[in-house]
C-alpha cells in the first residue's frame, strides 16, 4: 500500500469488555458505555478525554430503532467535543472500527482514539434476529428465498465436506474445544462445557443437537448475544510510557469478495480471508508460523477450520484433522479461539471484531489466568469475517515491552 512508510506505529493501551450473553437489564447504549469505561479505566484514563470515537454497530437502526449512536455515546461518556462516528460493516463492523481508529492515529491526525463495538440482539425474537442478520444477503438473488446465515454456512459446509473430507466429527471437535474454553472465560456467553458424547455419539445427541442448516447442527452455530467491547489506541511512543505493556497493531489487512457465493469461481475458496491475512502478515513482517495464538471468526464451526487453512496455519484439507489431533487446543501447535471464540464467547455482531482484539490483548499481557493463558504469547492474529466472507479484516498484534 502506498504511503504506509509515513505512518506512525499504533498501539493499544486500554482494553475492556462486559460479559456477553443475554443482558435484558442493559440498553445498547448502556453496554457501549460500560465497555468504553472499562477500556478507559484499563488505560488509566478514567478522567480524561479522547480525540475521536469509532463505534461499531450493525443493527441499532433495525433492532433498537436508534441511529447516530456514536453521537449519543460521546455525550453520555462526557467525551465532547471528540469526533465521533458509527461504523457499519455487517459482522465485521468491529474490526472495521478498529481499522478506522488505527488509520486515524497512524496518519498523525489523532493521538487518542476510543474504539467500541456493541450489539443488542436478544430483545427481539430469534425469528426477527435471524431475519436481521439475513438482511446482509443480496435482496433479490438470495434474501427473498428465506436464506439465513446458517443456511449459507450449511451450503458452504456441504461443499467443503465433499471436497476436503471435513467430517461432522471435526466440526464437533471445534464445538467441544471452544465451549470448554468459554467455560474458563468470565466474559463468555456460553459457559457450559459439552461432550462429544452428548452432541454426537449418544442416542440423546439427536435431541440435544438437532440440525439447524444441514449438515450443520445446533452446536455448530454461535449463540445470538448481547455485548460490547472497547479499546484505546494511541501512538506506540505514547503507549510505551503507560503502566501496562503496550500491544502494537503490527499488521492489518482487509479484502472483499463477491456478495453471493455462487459468483465465486470456487465457492470453497475464501479469498478475502487469504488476502486479509497475507496483507497483515506482510505489514507485520511475520509468517503464519510466527503466530502464537489466533482468534478466528467461528460463527460456525466450519469457519474455524476453513479459516485456519486460509490464513496459512494448515494446508487445505488439513484443518479438520488438525482439530482432531489437538493442534488447535491450548498447548497445541497453534491455539485457536482460547477465548471460546464466537461459538462460546458469543457473537453480538458489532462487538465481535473488537472483542477478538481485546482477547488477544489480555493474552499478550498475560492477564487471563493460568487455565486459559497461552504461555509466552507475544504475537496474535485476529480474523473478523463479514457477510459470508465478502468483507474480511485481519490484525496481527504484538506485545512490546518498553
Amino acid at each position: 500500500m502506498a504511503g504506509r512508510e509515513h505512518f506512525r506505529d499504533v498501539a493499544i493501551i486500554g482494553a475492556g469488555m462486559i460479559p456477553f450473553g443475554r443482558r435484558d437489564e442493559d440498553s445498547l447504549m448502556d453496554m457501549l458505555a460500560y465497555a468504553s469505561l472499562n477500556a478507559l479505566d484499563d488505560a488509566g484514563m478514567g478522567d480524561q478525554t479522547v480525540d475521536a470515537v469509532y463505534v461499531a454497530n450493525m443493527g441499532g437502526g433495525i433492532l433498537q430503532h436508534q441511529t447516530a449512536i456514536a453521537s449519543s455515546l460521546v455525550d453520555r461518556l462526557s467525551l465532547l467535543p471528540a469526533a465521533a462516528e458509527t461504523i457499519e460493516n455487517g459482522p465485521a463492523s468491529g474490526a472495521s472500527a478498529v481499522k478506522n481508529g488505527l488509520l486515524a492515529v497512524a496518519s498523525g491526525y489523532y493521538d487518542m482514539v476510543l474504539v467500541v463495538g456493541g450489539e443488542k440482539m436478544r430483545e427481539v425474537t430469534g425469528w426477527r434476529a435471524t431475519d436481521f442478520v439475513a438482511t446482509m444477503t443480496h435482496p433479490l438473488a438470495e434474501y427473498i428465498y428465506g436464506v439465513t446465515l446458517p443456511g449459507m454456512a450449511g451450503m458452504f459446509t456441504r461443499l467443503y465436506m465433499e471436497r476436503y473430507g471435513v467430517t461432522r466429527e471435526h466440526l464437533v471437535g471445534v464445538a467441544v474445544k471452544n465451549q470448554e474454553m468459554g467455560g474458563l472465560n468470565p466474559y463468555a456467553h456460553v459457559e457450559m462445557a459439552i461432550t462429544r458424547q452428548g452432541i454426537f455419539d449418544s442416542p440423546d445427541s439427536v435431541v440435544n443437537n438437532p440440525p439447524v442448516a444441514d449438515p450443520l447442527h445446533l452446536y455448530d452455530a454461535c449463540p445470538v448475544s448481547d455485548g460490547a467491547a472497547a479499546l484505546i489506541l494511541c501512538p506506540l511512543e505514547m503507549a510505551k510510557k503507560a503502566k501496562k505493556p503496550a500491544v502494537l497493531i503490527a499488521g492489518f489487512g482487509q479484502a472483499t469478495d463477491t456478495q453471493t457465493l455462487q459468483e465465486r469461481e470456487d465457492p470453497t475458496d475464501l479469498k478475502a480471508v487469504t488476502l486479509a491475512a497475507q496483507q497483515a502478515y506482510e505489514m507485520a513482517q511475520v509468517k503464519p508460523g510466527d503466530i502464537d495464538l489466533a482468534e478466528l471468526h467461528d460463527a460456525f464451526t466450519i469457519l474455524e477450520i476453513a479459516e485456519s487453512e486460509h490464513v496459512g496455519f494448515f494446508k487445505k484439507g488439513e484443518g479438520g484433522k488438525a482439530v482432531a489431533a489437538g493442534k488447535t487446543r491450548l498447548g497445541g501447535q497453534i491455539p485457536i479461539n482460547v477465548s471460546g471464540g464466537l461459538k462460546a464467547r458469543g457473537h453480538p455482531v458489532g462487538a465481535t471484531g473488537v472483542a477478538q482484539v481485546v482477547d488477544i490483548v489480555f493474552q499478550l499481557r498475560q492477564e487471563v489466568g493460568k487455565a486459559r493463558q497461552v504461555k509466552n504469547a507475544r504475537t496474535g492474529l485476529t480474523v473478523n469475517f463479514g457477510g459470508f466472507g465478502n468483507n474480511v479484516l485481519a490484525f496481527v498484534l504484538r506485545r512490546v515491552d518498553s
Partner: protein, 117 residues
C-alpha cells in the same frame, strides 16, 4: 406454468456471465451487457435444509440450494423436497417460477427447483 423471470447479464466485451447484476464486469470492468435468460434444466451445486427460518416464513423447514443452468447461469432458489435423502450434488433440477414467500399478503415470486429423479 409461469416463465422464469430471472435475467442474467453477459459482458459484451469478455463474455463473462453475471447474476445478479453488476454495474461493471467482474472480469474486465466492461459496462455493456447482453441480457440472457436461464436455459434448460439446472444442476444442483449445493444445498441445505434450514430449520430456523427468518421472520416471514411460517413453516417447519425450507430447502435452499444453488444450481447451474445449462447456459452457465448460477442462481439460488428454493428446492421442492420433503427430505434431503434424495438430493445429491450434481443432480438435475427442473426450474419453476412460483411464490417463494408472502410480504404484506402479496406473493413474492422466485426460483423453485424440482428434483428430477
Amino acid at each position: 406454468m409461469r416463465a422464469i423471470e430471472i435475467e442474467a447479464y453477459q459482458c459484451k466485451k469478455c463474455g463473462k456471465i453475471h447474476y445478479p447484476f453488476h454495474d461493471r464486469c467482474l472480469a474486465c470492468k466492461g459496462r455493456e451487457f447482453e441480457i440472457i435468460k436461464p436455459q434448460g434444466n439446472a444442476k444442483l451445486v449445493t444445498f441445505t435444509q434450514i430449520f430456523n427460518l427468518p421472520w416471514g416464513f411460517d413453516q417447519r423447514f425450507l430447502f435452499i440450494g444453488v444450481a447451474e443452468f445449462e447456459n452457465g447461469i448460477k442462481a439460488m432458489g428454493q428446492i421442492k423436497a420433503e427430505s434431503g435423502e434424495n438430493l445429491k450434488l450434481g443432480m438435475s433440477m427442473k426450474p419453476t417460477w412460483d411464490a417463494v414467500r408472502y410480504q404484506a399478503g402479496e406473493p413474492v415470486y422466485g426460483l423453485i427447483f424440482e428434483p428430477l429423479g
